[in-house]
């Protein structure tokens, strides 16, 4: 109770501070007068009484301060004083303040931008309920549709999912969802508009329940919607609803035509929910698994137990042992595998090695995270380096400023200021600068994040990463600002507070030794070293990017365009495909400027890849645990000419390959090397599947190696089949796969010049064939390839930018230090010139000092740059981490800039008039 009233009194003091001072002063005066009067009464002469009283009283000022200190607000008040003083100082030198705040804004902003990305991509959980209770079955991200044993299972079939769901009650909810996303052609039932391309995902009925997501309006999926025969419904994302339907409430409950089938829209997901993974272009529609047969028609894989195409995530009951659950799941998996009749005999022994591993599922499928993890790590290091350089610059500036106000500092020490208080005051000033820089840096971070997202996600329509700073980001910026303030402020504060009063007040400006010269010089050395590292890194990454872009791919991009179509979305059944393909070729060839038309299952550098195990006639079974299954592709006549792949032997696929002619195949060099070493492959036979298929295809030609998916590794072994030549298969699953491959997905056009309105003409031609044929996308081949290097391009550009920043900062730093030293040594230079030194000597003297610092920096920087290059080597393509040309170039650039930065003040020094210099103080 007493404590409370004491606290209250202390608080009230804050409002009475001014009157407190006045009253205390009056009280002291009264006391003094009483004392003086007492002395006079004791016989002291009046003139002496007052001073004597004062002497006895003691230090009035000290006493007042002690009395005031008793109220306990001393610490806060002094901080307030420091802040106000610091702000005044900053206002007094606006040029310096502006430069400092700008430098800090860039440094802190860059790091905050990187943190925004790190936070969203690496740290954040999905916007769902209690993400820490979610676990996924399987840790890798195999995608998107496969058969056969996986070892560590990550992708499952519907039958397997149901089995696990029924027998594992430890999950309160177990949901399955499509591993890959699929394009949909959607339009409203009412109205004549053509179908537009969207993205969709099949999910189990309890998907939203498992995530704990409630509908924004309408209702979301329920387990009942998964039953066979349930009316087909669909759920739309909030974003799609707002962007494409204007938030129109009448869409809910209305019917939509999706891929020519009718669905009812049941509801909208809440804003902010983007699905089960952080990826570009998240789904616009979610459909129940039960509707997959309806949508896929004969190609349906829901009922095929051996088709693995679903990821599984579940919510675990609290307190469940993960290890036990994992073991149980593995047992269930193995038991189920034994009952699957379609499993190949030779795979059966491996059943006991199949496992399910549980991984935390709260952050969603890790696709994006894995892709960008190493890039983000690199960015973090880069940002840190730039910030260090900025801090070094600021520290140098402050040291110079501190040296200039040495006299003032000495006077304050002489008057009784404690070193600690002085240091605290100067640190406060630094932190104020840093906080101002940090505030500006948040704006920089916002812009930088937007720019980074634009470059990193080129070609994506929407990324669920927001550049707006969230609370953790703001907190990070604040903490970083404080840290930065201390980092660059501590050294100058320390040095300034160590001024010796006597020495400084005597006007020691004539000395040739300056205590702060050493730290200044070491900072310049540090900056030079770090700049070299950044420049070298930028050079390596830029070279790597150039190598990637200009390598021999095995195709030509000039004048080529790729159009993405999906006839199945427009309702084309297999029997109608031959007619469609004929029409495509004739209609598109008529567009003025089009030299050649072809189509294929996918095009190079699209990101797609089909692979299957094959058997070669006359050869033993291939051991696919040691050899990678070859990739393959269905192509039309004129395909290889259109995309510019060279024929090496035999012939390409052409019009003589009809559904009724001999099934043929064209292979590439790597395929020939792997399966027909030292033989002529022409005329040999092979087939997809087991040895009973080994005579299926006759090889009629060999083309050069082409990179289709991985730009960094060697080309895959690959074979090409014509469309519409179908080999009957024994089991439904592989029959499906083969049938499905008959549908084209990419159309390639070779075009002369730059015909105007090409895209419009293509869409028009396609619409003439069938108004439902939706163009999913159309890009130049160059653009399609370029999008594969988004991350590399981003890194190269960012390191280049950072390197440039570092160079500018280091040059400014060197210039500043050299100019300052020249100014300080003006006297000395005057003496030297008076004693006979000529301009050249002076120039050499100043330049030598400046370049010595840079040289030392280079010596330090080279090993660090080499180490950095070694660390980068996994990112590099066609460039070694220690590439001497890049290093030499970086050294040269740095040396030139340093030379210029040092030359300017050196020239000024050389043109000093000795008489004026000697007179100067």
């Amino acid at each position: 109770m007493e404590r409370l009233s004491e606290l209250w009194r202390r608080l009230m003091f804050l409002f009475r501070r001014e009157s407190f001072q006045r009253e205390l002063q009056e009280e002291m005066k009264f006391h003094l007068e009483m004392k003086a009067r007492a002395l006079r009464h004791a016989g002291v002469p009046p003139a002496e009484a007052a001073p004597a009283a004062q002497r006895q009283f003691g230090n009035t000022l000290q006493l007042r301060e002690n009395s005031r200190a008793a109220w306990g607000w001393n610490a806060v008040e002094t901080v307030g004083q420091d802040v106000r003083y610091g702000l005044r100082q900053l206002r007094r030198s606006p040029g310096f303040t502006l430069l400092a705040v700008l430098t800090l804004a860039l440094g802190i902003g860059a790091n905050t931008a990187v943190f925004t990305l790190v936070d969203t991509v690496m740290l954040k959980s999905l916007p769902v309920t209690d993400p820490q209770q979610l676990y996924s079955l399987g840790a890798d991200d195999n995608c998107c549709e496969m058969t056969g044993l996986q070892g560590n299972f990550t992708i499952y079939s519907y039958a397997l999912y149901k089995e696990l769901q029924e027998h594992t009650p430890q999950f309160t909810q177990l949901a399955a969802f499509q591993a890959g996303a699929m394009p949909l052609a959607v339009r409203r039932s009412r109205g004549a508009e053509a179908a537009q391309p969207y993205r969709g995902e099949f999910v189990s009925g309890n998907y939203f329940q498992m995530f704990g997501i409630n509908a924004y309006t309408g209702r979301l999926l329920a387990p009942a919607d998964d039953r066979a025969g349930a009316p087909p419904i669909v759920v739309m994302s909030y974003r799609a609803w707002q962007q494409h339907y204007g938030g129109d409430p009448t869409v809910i409950g209305s019917t939509f035509v999706i891929n020519s089938k009718v669905f009812t829209l049941a509801g909208i997901t809440p804003p902010g929910f983007f699905g089960d993974r952080l990826t570009g272009d998240p789904p616009d529609f979610w459909l129940p698994l039960g509707s997959e047969p309806l949508l896929s028609g004969p190609g349906s894989i829901l009922r095929l137990p051996g088709e693995f195409w679903l990821y599984i995530t579940g919510r675990i009951k609290p307190g469940t042992s993960l290890a036990a659950l994992q073991a149980q799941l593995t047992v269930e998996l193995q038991q189920w595998l034994r009952t699957v009749p379609k499993l190949e005999e030779h795979d059966r022994p491996q059943i006991s090695q199949q496992r399910i591993i549980l991984a935390p599922g709260g952050s969603g499928v890790t696709e994006l995270r894995d892709q960008y993890a190493s890039g983000l790590r690199l960015l973090t290091v880069l940002g840190g380096l730039v910030l260090l350089i900025a801090c070094a610059n600021l520290a140098n500036l402050l040291l110079a400023k501190g040296s200039a106000s040495r006299v003032q500092m000495a006077a304050r020490i002489a008057l009784g200021a404690s070193r600690a208080r002085l240091i605290r005051q100067m640190l406060t000033e630094s932190m104020l600068l840093a906080l101002l820089g940090g505030a500006a840096g948040i704006a920089v971070a916002f812009l930088a994040t937007r720019m980074i997202l634009l470059v990193a996600f080129r070609g994506v329509r929407y990324v669920p990463i927001s550049p707006t700073p969230s609370l953790p980001v703001l907190a990070f910026a604040f903490a970083l600002s404080l840290l930065t303030g201390v980092l660059f402020g501590i050294a100058p504060a320390w040095f300034s507070s160590r001024s010796q009063p006597a020495e400084a007040l005597h006007g020691a400006t004539r000395s040739t030794r300056d205590r702060s010269a050493l730290p200044q010089k070491s900072l310049v050395v540090l900056q030079a070293a770090l700049s070299l590292v950044l420049l070298a890194g930028a050079g390596l990454l830029t070279r790597s990017l150039l190598n990637l872009q200009t390598q021999r791919f095995g195709f030509q991009t000039r004048g080529r365009y790729i159009v993405r179509l999906d006839p199945s979305l427009a309702g084309y059944t297999e029997d109608r495909l031959p007619g469609l393909y004929r029409q495509l070729r004739t209609q598109l060839a008529q567009i003025p400027g089009v030299l050649s038309v072809s189509y294929a299952g996918y095009s190079p550098m699209r990101g797609d890849n089909w692979s299957s195990e094959i058997s070669v006639e006359g050869q033993p079974r291939v051991d696919y645990t040691k050899v990678v299954a070859p990739s393959w592709l269905r192509v039309s006549p004129h395909y290889f000419e259109t995309i510019g792949t060279r024929l090496l032997r035999g012939r390409v696929i052409n019009d003589q390959d009809t559904p009724t002619s001999t099934p043929v195949a064209v292979i590439n060099e790597t395929f020939a090397r792997k399966f027909f070493p030292k033989q002529d492959p022409i005329g040999k036979h092979f087939g997809i599947g087991e040895s009973n298929h080994s005579r299926d295809y006759e090889i009629v030609g060999m083309v050069e190696d082409t990179k289709y998916q991985d730009a960094r590794g060697p080309a895959y072994a690959m074979f090409f089949l014509p469309f519409l030549q179908l080999i009957p298969r024994e089991d439904e699953s592989s029959q499906n796969a083969i049938d499905g491959s008959n549908y084209l997905q990419d159309v390639e056009l070779l075009v002369a010049g730059h015909p105007p309105n090409l895209e419009f003409q293509v869409r028009h031609a396609l619409a003439e064939i069938d108004p439902n044929l939706t163009v999913l996308s159309m890009n130049s081949f160059d653009e399609q390839v370029a999008r594969n290097f988004n991350q590399d391009r981003l890194l190269a550009r960012l390191t280049g930018l950072f390197g440039f920043l570092a160079l500018v900062l280091a040059s400014i730093g060197l210039y500043g230090v050299t100019a300052y030293n020249v100014a300080r040594r003006t006297n000395e230079i005057g003496i030297r010139m008076a004693l006979g030194a000529d301009r050249k000597n002076v120039l050499r003297m100043v330049l030598r000092s400046a370049l010595a610092q840079v040289a030392l920096g280079l010596v330090l920087g080279v090993p660090i740059a080499l180490a950095g290059g070694h660390a980068l080597s996994s990112q590099l393509f066609g460039v070694k981490g220690y590439d001497p040309e890049v290093l030499a170039a970086a050294v040269a650039i740095l040396a030139v800039c340093a030379g210029v930065a040092g030359l300017l003040p050196a020239r000024r020094a050389a043109s000093i008039d000795p008489m004026q210099a000697l007179r100067a103080e």
Binding site: E2, S5, E6, R9, R10, E23, L24, E26, E27, M28, F30, H31, E33, M34, K35, F57, G58, N59, Q62, L63, N66, S67, R68, A69, A70, W71, G72
Partner: protein
Amino acid sequence: MARTEIPPGTLYLLIMKTLESGPRHGYGIAERIQQLSDEVLRVEEGSLYPALQRMLIKGWIFGEWRQSENNRRARYYRLTPAGRKQLGLEVSEFQKVMAAIARVIQTA
């Protein structure tokens, strides 16, 4: 002349005792202590006023401005009820300690 140090911890006690008989201003408190102790104890102003501030914070004394004997404005301090209670506590504590020390000295 050397001033005898006020034993640590007893300054509050002395100040409050002088205020027991009525309100005084700062100078008056110092004078009174000097007088009552036969000039042995002299309070330094440097310790007096900070101590007065602390006692104000703790609520043991209360200060108000009044006219002094010679018609000058001065701040007079007086004991609050909480202060009286504290005074009693400190006096008995002090006496206990002094008696104990006296016993030790006598036996030695």
